[in-house]
Amino acid sequence: MLKQITKPLLDSCRDLLPIVVVIAFFQLLILRQPLPNLMELLVGMLFVVLGLTLFIRGLELGLFPIGESMAYDFARKGNLFWLLAFAFALGFGTTVAEPALIAVSAEAATVAAEADMIINTDESRSGYAFGLRLTVALAVGFAIVIGVLRILKGWPIQYLIIGGYIGVVLMTMIAPQEIIGIAYDSGGVTTSTITVPLVTALGVGLASSIRGRNPMVDGFGLIAFASLTPIIFVMGYGLVY
């Protein structure tokens, strides 16, 4: 019983040890400064360890099972429309309110205003930022739909991803210079800590409940699409805005 509690806690400590070592090393030996507020630091670390342990436990109890059970139920129901509707809602709904995306779009609006792509007023900036958020959310919704279709049909992932890469390269050539950095980064910020386990469980669950699909070959890949399509869509947004 005791071991059931201490082992996950020790695992979390081990997960966090590298960060502590890196920060202590640079602070004490390279910058040669003492660690400020040692007490607060220790309390914070305790929170991080407990939080990570709870999160991992919750993952196994809640997020993985619900993702898989929905995948089985959708596969049994056999209604393609509702499965794709769910895929789109999951991609769009989890992205549109993502805090990291809200921050990046606001920054992008500032860049666009400085580059004279839009008028530099609060109103036009927030309009631009909102449009960008919708664009990225649409891109992620679209990505999960394509990804789910791929699992159902068993299309090899590499052709789709390479096709996406060609899309990124072509868009890079014609998109305005200022948007390129933001577009490339937008692919990374869309996938949050709660979305990733859920979407992974959904993909693996679908691949294991459809005959002829291998969960390892076909089950993964949804996140890959969700990090690729926003790059293309954001450059497209920069072109038409």
């Binding site: 920060i23 090393f25 640079f26 390279i30 607060e40 630091l41 914070g44 670390m45 929170f47 407990l50 939080g51 990570l52 999160f55 919750g58 196994e60 109890l61 809640g62 997020l63 099972p65 619900i66 059970s69 929905m70 129901k77 509707a85 809602a89 999951l90 709904g93 989890t94 309110a97 993502e98 990291a100 920054e107 992932i157 590499q158 390479i162 890469y165 990124v168 890079t172 390129i180 950095g181 490339y184 980064d185 692919g187 990374g188 869309t190 996938t191 949050s192 800590t193 709660i194 990733v196 386990p197 469980a201 693996v204 291998n214 070959v217 089950g219 993964f220 890949g221 996140i223 890959a224």
Partner: protein, 253 residues
């Protein structure tokens, strides 16, 4: 008692993040699937753990690690530190004046990725699905090496001011070549590992590093050159994970 207020604030914002997901799941369960999932009570407890755990995790990071890490990123990139032991002026700084910055980028990229909860989740799943062929730590370390290299190269790019898309396109070419040779069942997982690396822990610290560099390096502007580190951190894990599988295959032969 500032902790209590901060905790409630973080908890509320986590709830706000979870809300759309919960609403979509609930809506589809009730109106489309019309089935009660097995072990509903357990799943709800699990959701509670996820929300409380993530809130505590974020709060701890924001109280302890982020302020220190961000301050560090700023100090390491500042001319005062870079010029401390030499008689050079700011204009004489060259790309190798920033060696500590590259090393910091390497270490922080590696260590934040090891602690990234989303990556732990994907590694657990991959281990389960592959019946142990993909080891949890093997995958996590491969991804962390990819992120470490990506972020170090990304800081080098900001210092030298070379165009971002050359690096990205070269990375894509490498991914395509590797895809042709990598074991078939690692490809999808490798592509996924690019997207999972950059979330809760990595993004804030890496963004601070990019902005610090772009602010301090002569000739760079934070709004034009500060971007791109996340893109590097999402591209190089793909290369690293495929290399890990290729290496494993090669050693087994």
């Amino acid at each position: 008692m500032m902790h209590i207020n901060a905790w409630i604030e973080v908890l509320l914002s986590t709830l706000r993040d979870v809300f759309p997901i919960a609403a979509i799941i609930l809506g589809f369960q009730l109106f489309v699937l019309r089935r009660k999932p097995k072990n509903l009570a357990k799943i709800l407890i699990g959701f509670g753990f996820v929300i409380a755990g993530l809130a505590m995790f974020l709060l701890g990071l924001e109280q302890a690690l982020f302020p220190l890490g961000k301050l560090m990123a700023e100090q390491l990139t500042a001319p005062a530190f870079l010029l401390a032991d030499s008689s050079m002026t700011e204009q004489q700084l060259v790309w190798y004046s920033y060696l500590w910055v590259y090393l910091f980028a390497l270490c922080i990229g590696f260590s934040t990725t090891i602690a990234e909860p989303a990556l732990i989740a994907v590694a657990i799943k991959a281990n389960e699905v592959s019946a142990g062929a993909v080891s949890v730590w093997g995958l996590r370390i491969a991804v962390a090496i990819g992120v470490a290299f990506g972020i170090a190269l990304g800081t080098f790019r900001i210092v030298t001011g070379t165009p971002l898309h050359y690096y990205i396109i070269a990375g894509y070419v490498l991914v395509i070549i590797q895809t042709a040779f990598a074991p078939r069942n690692i490809v999808a997982l490798a592509y996924d590992s690019g997207g999972v690396t950059t979330s809760t822990v990595t993004v804030p610290l890496v963004t601070a590093l990019g902005l610090g560099l772009a602010t301090h390096v002569p000739g760079r502007s934070p709004i034009m050159d500060g971007f791109g580190l996340i893109a590097f951190a999402s591209l190089f894990p793909i290369i690293a994970v495929m290399a890990y599988a290729q290496l494993g295959n090669y050693l087994r032969r």
